[in-house]
């Protein structure tokens, strides 16, 4: 049973292999939990589909997106929004685990503590692969027509996944910091609405009033959405926003991973 442990600096430590192993066990646990709740899966698919239909058929006709059809404009935005919503469950789940005592159990085991966080965020990422796939299929059914080569579409998909992974860590930090599940529920969602709506996700930012527009232009969501638009339906160069979006994501990850680990130690 002593595998995965080395002695360094006079104390026992876990090897990188042990951290990886434990993360895999924790991700497996989380996926198994999710698969056991089929109604939860169905609803997590239905919500974004409803968003697509609402925007496509209700707001769509009233929003002028110039030469680009609204559905082509909308889909990259709504895919990114779905990725964020999919990431928000991370924080809620962790708050639940802290409340139920499962986290105490795990932290008292000779396992890698970081594996609890890595396992959870990776499992949520895997779920998001499925949710986003459903979204894309629905998008294609309502008229979304990507024009760019396959490698670019693949790159767009990976960018959205990276984005969702980063937001999982932000959500984890919020969940662990507020602790109370009800508070986590509202604290986890409120910041997402201004962030997604004050971006280029649903409407061109050119129509927004000055200060909002300035915010939207620097909003990382705008950068990711613009990059995904460029990579899928063409238009203005995708490379600029994509590079800036990646820089944003890296910076956010560097900030929120240590913050989350710190919050987890105290939870």
């Amino acid at each position: 049973m002593s595998t995965g442990i080395v002695i360094r600096g006079g104390r026992q430590r876990l090897t990188a292999g042990a951290v990886l192993h434990d993360s895999r066990v924790m991700a497996g646990r989380q996926l198994r939990r999710t698969l056991r709740r089929p109604t939860y899966i169905v609803f997590s698919f239905i919500q974004p589909v409803i968003f697509v239909l609402l925007f496509r058929y209700i707001f769509g006709g009233a929003i002028d997106t110039g030469a680009t059809s609204y559905v082509n404009f909308l889909m990259p935005g709504i895919i990114v929004q779905t990725a964020i919503f999919g990431a928000l469950v991370t924080g809620l789940g962790l708050t639940e685990d802290v409340g139920s005592g499962v986290v105490d159990r795990l932290r008292s085991l000779p396992m890698a503590r970081s594996a609890v966080l890595v396992g959870r965020t990776v499992a949520d990422l895997v779920m998001n692969v499925f949710t986003l796939t459903v979204m894309i299929v629905v998008g294609l059914l309502v008229g979304f027509r990507p024009t760019q080569p396959a490698w670019q579409l693949g790159a767009a998909f990976l960018l959205v996944l990276a984005f969702s992974f980063v937001f999982s860590w932000i959500s984890a930090w919020i969940g662990l910091s507020v602790r109370n599940p009800e508070t986590a529920q509202s604290a986890g969602f409120i910041w997402v609405f201004p962030l997604t709506f004050a971006s280029s996700a649903f409407v061109p930012i050119a129509t927004m009033p000055g200060p909002v527009r300035a915010f939207a232009e620097h909003n990382p969501i705008t950068l990711v959405v613009d990059a995904v638009r460029g990579l899928t339906i063409g238009g203005p160069a995708a490379a600029g926003p994509a590079v800036r979006a990646l820089l944003w994501l890296t910076a956010l990850l560097l900030i929120f991973v240590p913050l989350t680990v710190h919050a987890f130690r105290r939870a």
Binding site: R13, R36, G101, L109, P110
Partner: protein, 324 residues
């Protein structure tokens, strides 16, 4: 540092959360293969002590060692030495009992097949085989608590930390848990058990530490603790209340310091807080010698509740909620 004498050694431990002091200079040690009952009301610091020993919480001051390993400086071997189970039943409700135990086994980095075998073995032992493949959410409180304990034992820990393991359980589940603790101790496991049930500490523990306001206020075997405050109470019923006039002076010097022989001239009842263990027999001999007939004899021992009351000046139940 592996030079140690006892599996658990706690010296001058203090924990404060902001202005709240949960532990305040607590010290104790537990001999290998014995059960120490940590007895105290809510808010005394029992859960905080468990959280420090299980590396969940860093103390503000003092040291705690488990199997010779410092909980702060070298937490990993501490975690490999302990099993933790408690009142909150920390098992995953969405998974089955078997899946819970297999997961814990794999987090001890047992190979998959070995983790599966071990889970089956513990489920069998804890009488959970029949429910092994049901979601834990469908378990009764007692089953959940057994599974929680089973999870704590997956790594075959030499030290077991039990935080109020029977709080909220029905009497039958309590008995079951008690016999499991007995078995574990017989097998050589060292157990620290917190409880606010006095009968539980009396039943399970070889030694008891009474804690209040974050520190140990009394420590000893259940019997010495009881002896410390006194003493047995002898209740006698005389069929002839008139004989009390003879009986009371005969027994006066057997009463413990500060107590007197009380007699009810109407019913013929007589009560003595006897000063020494052999005083009851002496009382009966004297009465017999002087021709006083005794109809019924009853000897009651002080409960640990009485111990608590005499140590703290207040009842064990009249203390505010525990600050976690």
């Amino acid at each position: 540092m592996n030079t140690y004498t006892d599996p658990i050694e706690v010296v001058d431990l203090a924990v404060s959360y902001g202005r709240v002091t949960a532990l305040d200079g607590l010290g104790l040690r537990i001999a290998a293969g014995t059960v120490l009952g940590v007895l105290g009301p809510n808010g005394a610091g029992k859960t905080t002590l468990i959280r420090v020993l299980s590396t969940l919480l860093r103390p503000t001051r003092g040291t705690a060692r488990v199997m010779g390993h410092d909980v702060v400086a070298d937490p990993l071997p501490v975690r490999r030495s302990i099993g933790l189970a408690g009142q909150y039943a920390a098992v995953d409700q969405e998974l089955t009992g078997r899946e819970n135990l297999e997961m814990v086994g794999r987090l001890y980095r047992l190979p998959r097949a070995e983790a599966r075998r071990r889970a089956g073995e513990i489920l069998e032992r804890f009488d959970l085989s029949g429910a092994a493949d049901r979601r834990v959410g469908t378990y009764s409180g007692g089953m959940r608590r057994r599974l929680d304990l089973a999870a704590g034992l997956t790594g075959r820990p030499p030290v077991l930390l039990l935080d109020e393991p029977t709080t909220g359980l029905d009497p039958r589940s309590r008995q079951e848990l008690w016999s499991i603790v007995d078995e574990l101790r017989d097998a050589g496991t060292t157990v620290l058990l917190t409880t606010q049930y006095l009968d539980e500490a009396d039943r399970l523990a070889q030694r008891i530490a009474v804690i209040a306001a974050g520190t140990v206020i009394a420590e000893g075997t259940p019997d010495t603790l009881k002896a410390g405050i006194g003493t047995d109470i002898l209740h006698l019923h005389l069929p002839e209340p008139a004989a009390l006039a003879t009986a009371v002076p005969l027994l006066a010097d057997l009463a413990a310091a500060g107590t007197t022989v009380t007699a009810d001239p109407v019913s013929g009842d007589l009560t003595v807080h006897v000063s020494r263990p052999d005083a009851s027999a002496e009382a009966l001999r004297r009465l017999d010698r002087h021709g006083v007939t005794v109809a019924t004899i009853q000897l009651t021992r002080p409960s640990l509740d009485d111990v608590f009351l005499s140590l703290t000046g207040r009842s064990a139940t009249a203390v505010p909620e525990e600050a976690r």
